[in-house]
Symmetry: C2
Subunit: 159 residues, 2 copies
């Protein structure tokens, strides 16, 4: 991936004190995610919470401590209900939210057109059908690394 | 890329009657983009407009004709001024906009932290420093294909 075109400065900025917030209620899935993220994005710290409420508390604590916000949030839509996830997305993406710039990538086993449309309508960034094997998680995080970290310029910190 | 994990149904849906709307005022850059998109995403129709106003008209015409909206918009931020682009992004992403679900990928030669932060604050999806060679455009569109078309489930049509 290192022959990719992105300017060194963009890539450097994306990795600077970077973390991903993972919201996942299933500990087995978190283990797969953690392992795959560790292989594909070893430079990026991962933070795990298992409910939407804990995610909100974590983000508020980052602000209160003047710590860096996560560069990106990975959110399992069904925790096991989707209600708290929808509320969380709408809170993060409402005008004047201090977290509004953080991309939210949602994954779900559901392939429901209604869920997909709601996610984009509420300002969610990407909808991904949840991988079901470790190799699929690896492929997913490789694609995420290449797009978000090596191509895109992610939002700056708390600016 | 065909060993990628995405379910066949997701990939099929992403390519179904898919188009990209490219907003680019420089005809030379459009030629590079068109050529690179043709290599990387030959299944996807490209529509070119050169001003924010034309982009708005094109989207309104899609709605009026009950045609499919573009799956994604690629927007050059400086046309040559950024003002009309910011207005366009805010119009597309305001609540109740009929286009709100369409991802907006902005590219610009600028690496200005202010532009990057504004883009994400207004609901733009990704900020990309504009490639400067054809090979870099190819690398960019390969990454875009793999992420948006082969991994993510893009929004459905006008639903």
């Amino acid at each position: 991936m290192h022959d990719h075109y992105s300017g060194r400065s963009t890539v450097k900025q994306n990795f600077y004190k970077a973390s991903i917030l993972v919201v996942e209620d299933n500990p087995d899935h978190w283990m797969l995610i953690q392992e795959a993220l560790g292989e594909c994005l070893p430079e990026v710290q991962t933070v795990w919470v298992s409910t939407a409420k804990e995610a909100e508390t974590y983000l508020a604590d980052c602000l209160a401590d003047q710590a860096n916000l996560p560069k990106l949030m990975l959110l399992d839509l069904y925790l096991p209900d989707a209600g708290p996830s929808w509320t969380l997305i709408q809170k993060i993406k409402r005008p004047n939210s201090p977290y509004i710039r953080m991309p939210i990538v949602v994954f779900s086993y559901s392939n429901s057109q209604e869920d997909i449309n709601e996610l984009y309508r509420f300002g969610g960034t990407s909808y991904i059908v949840k991988p079901s094997t470790f190799d699929q998680w690896l492929a997913y995080f490789q694609s995420m690394r290449q797009y978000w970290w090596e191509t895109v310029t992610l939002p700056g910190q708390n600016g």
